[in-house]
Point group: C2
Chain length 370, copies 2
Amino acid sequence: MSLNLITAEGLEPVSPLWLRERTQDPEQLDEVTTQRLFDSHAIDVNLELTAARPVDETHVEFTFSDGHCEVYDLTMLAHELQGITPFPKPESWDASIDQQAQRVDWEKMGNNEDFQKALKAYLRFGYIIVQNVPTDPERILEVAGHFGYVKDTNFGSYFEVYSRPTGNDLAYRSVALGPHTDNPYRDPVPGIQMLHCLVNETTGGLSTLVDSLNALKQLKAEMPEGYELLRTTPVGFRFLDAGTELTTRRCVIRENSDGEPIGVNYSPRLDHLPHMSLENTRRYHQARQRLGQLFQDPANEIRFQLESGELMMFDNTRVLHGRTAFDTNEGHRHLQGCYMDSDGPRERFATTLMRQRQQQAQQENREEMA
Amino acid sequence: MSLNLITAEGLEPVSPLWLRERTQDPEQLDEVTTQRLFDSHAIDVNLELTAARPVDETHVEFTFSDGHCEVYDLTMLAHELQGITPFPKPESWDASIDQQAQRVDWEKMGNNEDFQKALKAYLRFGYIIVQNVPTDPERILEVAGHFGYVKDTNFGSYFEVYSRPTGNDLAYRSVALGPHTDNPYRDPVPGIQMLHCLVNETTGGLSTLVDSLNALKQLKAEMPEGYELLRTTPVGFRFLDAGTELTTRRCVIRENSDGEPIGVNYSPRLDHLPHMSLENTRRYHQARQRLGQLFQDPANEIRFQLESGELMMFDNTRVLHGRTAFDTNEGHRHLQGCYMDSDGPRERFATTLMRQRQQQAQQENREEMA
């Protein structure tokens, strides 16, 4: 007896081990945590399915050779096998992205529907601009806490960005900064960055953003061998100041566990070419040079003035950020920045879905009562 | 003209691109940050070395085809090419580890030499026990801040571990917990965990620790195919409570960018077998079953009573932790825990080296003056 998945290629057997581990039986799961109460790793490796009895259109009762018998909801199993999740998938973008759709209002972020929409925009495109954020100091930490979890670094829980001639990073000068990811020398690399504009009296200092997923697609098509080197060869990144030295080695192209590109580690001032053959070094250098050009191509990049009271939140390794030069004589320019862990927005998104379901259930209850 | 590295296999050419990017020229580097002031990605891909002139035993002046000419300290280049770093390398351990050598005194952690020794023990073996930590609440955050950076999660900046029948995780019961890693469903997974014992009046609730690097070595020798599946097949991990749903997919065996194992994502109550062929599912299940046995093998595991005033700090994915069951009738058992990012201790270790060099320089200065 076997459970099968119907695919384009025909029947695909589903392992009884896979099925047994996915118990939906309330007696085998902790009520509060839904964590399994038994050690699924101890299941007999030769477990078999001995009987299957349809209960209704979406439920089947399965019996296993270890004696366990339970009714499964097939919809849940099918969703998992088909990789269906409620999370929005990343979509790559270029300069033609609808920038207005990425703007959200801080004053509405307490509303579940608006918050969900904002999170969806972030998860799909890797950045949003939050408007109407009061410009008092440390407000950024409140915004960060709403969207996820602040990540402390050697720069503190948040950092000030204004022109300081002796700052410990070039970000603290008035020079232009090409597109880059922050802190590629940290482990873990900050997943998300927020930049909150408190004051901007300069006409320069424009913010630039570019989607690495889009540039990587172009690079892969143009230089498959170079792409492969950037994907597989670890590079050294290094940060140094009076009290801190941080070095790490990681590949320029970041992938998820399925081998799909999810971003880059890219910082032309902090990276160090790996030692390879003369031929591969040239190929590697050429590929990263081209990648840098694609990142700065006006067809890929968006460029805007971040106004006082606006805060941008972006996936630090997916969406590269930069800044044009500015003239400190024109006036003050003061931003506050902070880092966050990657998974906050996904967690919050799941929470908005839960709240939505609860609200719908309450609504239905009320209608039934009426 | 070319620069060559002498290896066991003969001469290995070093790319002029590699050399040019490693400029040590003060005029090409920012004075404060030592970050490069030029964009090394823009260097001509056909750059050549046109002249080399020895200055002394360890210095050579190189001239490049782009006109740049500078004197390099060869020692620095050689160290990098040979992969020499000041950081201690991980060494796998089993039950015979010298547990006394892993114990450090909180009262001495202000001393640079003692702190360095503690960090070295942690970086080599993946855990230390800090003694004499005052048992007032939140003290754990001070200790964490000394060793690195606290990582906030859905459990807060720190969490309380005592018996709560309705806690949102099985860690908050009095049941035994097998060896596992925490929060494999988060992205990033917490790099380090601290557990601080405030009260322990029970005779049970012993802490267990096991080095995954040691178990992985055994698994690889016994079941190379199963090891390969655990290394390359992403598994689903899931956490759920009233307000949070977190799911992620990652491989059980974690590797660094050089493909060396550095730990595992292992939590038998939270993982979900991937859908694979019947044959691979069996092979996968068998390998994780065996891995679980190796983790619980007394020959691999250490087991001890964490006393009031003691704090254990361990690499969350390298050194698995567990706990024997305890009897709440015997008395109170209260721990506080927190997570930290991976790279804090490495950063602190680099800082102790810097401070050591400064102290030596001051000492030499004083001797010269005398």
